[in-house]
Subunit: 412 residues, 2 copies
Amino acid sequence: MALIVQKYGGTSVGTVERIQAVADKVARFRQQGHDVVVVVSAMSGETNRLVDLAKQIREQPVGRELDVLLSTGEQVTIALLAMALEQKGCPARSYTGAQVHILTDSAHNKARIRDIDDQRIRNSLARGRVVVVAGFQGVDEHGDITTLGRGGSDTTAVALAAALKADECQIYTDVDGVYTTDPRVVAEARKLDRITFEEMLEMASLGSKVLQIRSVEFAGKYNVPLRVLSSFSEGEGTLISIEDEKMEQALISGIAFSRDEAQLTITGVPDQPGVAYNILGPIADANIEVDMIVQNVGADGTTDFTFTVHRNDYARALEVMQDTARRVEAREVSGDNHIAKISLVGVGMRSHAGIASKMFETLAKEGINIRMISTSEIKVSVVVDEKYLELGVRSLHDAFELDQEPAGKSGN
Amino acid sequence: MALIVQKYGGTSVGTVERIQAVADKVARFRQQGHDVVVVVSAMSGETNRLVDLAKQIREQPVGRELDVLLSTGEQVTIALLAMALEQKGCPARSYTGAQVHILTDSAHNKARIRDIDDQRIRNSLARGRVVVVAGFQGVDEHGDITTLGRGGSDTTAVALAAALKADECQIYTDVDGVYTTDPRVVAEARKLDRITFEEMLEMASLGSKVLQIRSVEFAGKYNVPLRVLSSFSEGEGTLISIEDEKMEQALISGIAFSRDEAQLTITGVPDQPGVAYNILGPIADANIEVDMIVQNVGADGTTDFTFTVHRNDYARALEVMQDTARRVEAREVSGDNHIAKISLVGVGMRSHAGIASKMFETLAKEGINIRMISTSEIKVSVVVDEKYLELGVRSLHDAFELDQEPAGKSGN
């Protein structure tokens, strides 16, 4: 008997038939004696339909009213799912974000959860009911409806799991777990049984779209075991949790990559204190997010400075940098928006030297030139020409034998 | 400067363009310096769409969850209208029923309003905003969402007007006022400038679908001046209020009629105390509503008993009555579901004799046989064969000169 929070996304509840299939899944868990709290998104397409209505009135709708509008999407789903559960003889109650006091700040369309009053949910569970909660939405201290931004239903689920001290938070999606890399690029990609929060964060932030970064951060912070699994098939999915001795002893858990990158380089910058701030300050002021940053000291008292931004921000960033170059009297600004980033991720690399050099060797053998390198405790990222992306990912997947179960894997 | 509550129904807000037209109307009132509270229904078709979704799951959806589902319809409209008002530079805030504490009992799908906390609305008005409230919905003492039943948005508007002591409650519809009778039946039907609550109640309960009966009762009880007018054209509509010395001195305000009638007669019932209860008790137990009741004492110590029910209930009522007839040893049960009811309504008839006899004379001249008669202080109703309905209504409209402005009409 456990307390489980389950979250089903828009595709999983996209039609009445699918909602009934979700009800079947939920009812089975309930029959096994578990307490179940279900968080659902709007039926797929519904949020877009509502946004379109709003945009017919105004390109940038008032944030407060947009939240009143969008929150109806999840409210429809909770009602239908609760009906479907009752229809199957499984007592259920639906609740909006406001009804279970998911208190957020007042940042409409991207609110952050501050607190959850779990009493109403606990009372409902104690009466043997499945509790169905609208994801993505909350209420601020003034009683105004707020939403957490796209994908916020994952965050709702994790926050509820944390507040209720649930045994597990299960995120049902249209994939059956987290893979060593994207199976569309590497056919031999292998589903992982377990992965740590840190690894998942790196994977998520590097382009694996399985989970929202915020929800993984949240789960890690409150140590809520998170499981990603498929709405449409059976299987244990992938458990995301803290590092555990029983955990498979892989050096590398997976390879993440991203095509949405662009690189900017400013060369011949007079090297003096404050140079990084002088260069990146105007970029930040333009609301452009910077990802990798590399600085090299040059020979003649100048420095070269390279960073990456989202490809959509490339043109704007280039403009800002040309201004900056004039101001700091740099030699030249150059850039490239046909680059890609490949990252090896794994908690195992903390205690093992040689991961980075093996990575560079593998890429060199394939004739792939590395343009930038950046490392963290559990990650090595390289920037390469976009055309080498698939080749690079495949050769690394092969070199690190990610298609094989790790040797030290426990019996679980 | 007045405080006005306006209600716009589903057709009036059926598309984004119509919502923008409503916003224009509202903004004009605001510009005139009035405080405006707007109550809106779901966009036309939306409630049916939601009901269809629910019925795909269960023919009789759980009442609580149906209310969670249906209440999203109005929530969509309030958000869009508030956006449209803001877009026109008219500050506005939307509120769900729960947000302005429209407290109801817990009778899901047909809840009754108990109380409204007007503080949040007053605060918003005091800041110069138009307040947009979702009609049809409330919240019970447990915080569960309730709905007031179809057409409940009228009730919301009147209840808000009463709570706020508004100067007028304006109900915008697709007709431009209350007519002496249905213009589709009598081309000469005339729009009334004013009518009393009592008259409107009789008109509404007799089949004039302009306003919900409950909302008229509510308005009468709290003496909220109610105005029916068109969303799509200009004009003063019809004011429904208490009787007023300045009011036009018509004997008859209008002719209401209904086709949805069926008649049942039980003859040769031994006449003894309790006979009415013995006959109508089982009908009430079967949840069938009875409209007109007529009892005649016969010659041989027996009585004949006739009553009317909604045509949809005819078959069931006939079954019940056949059982009853055996039990009370009545002679015979007969019935007819091809009847119609015609009623003259007017507060003027209180002080004027001869209305009924003129009515009977008019119908007799046309060769229309009267099957039942029932009278109240401000109404005379007759039941006739359905085929005579149009002829009867037209001849009465003509005989009582309802196409003419009443002679004693004031200058207003």
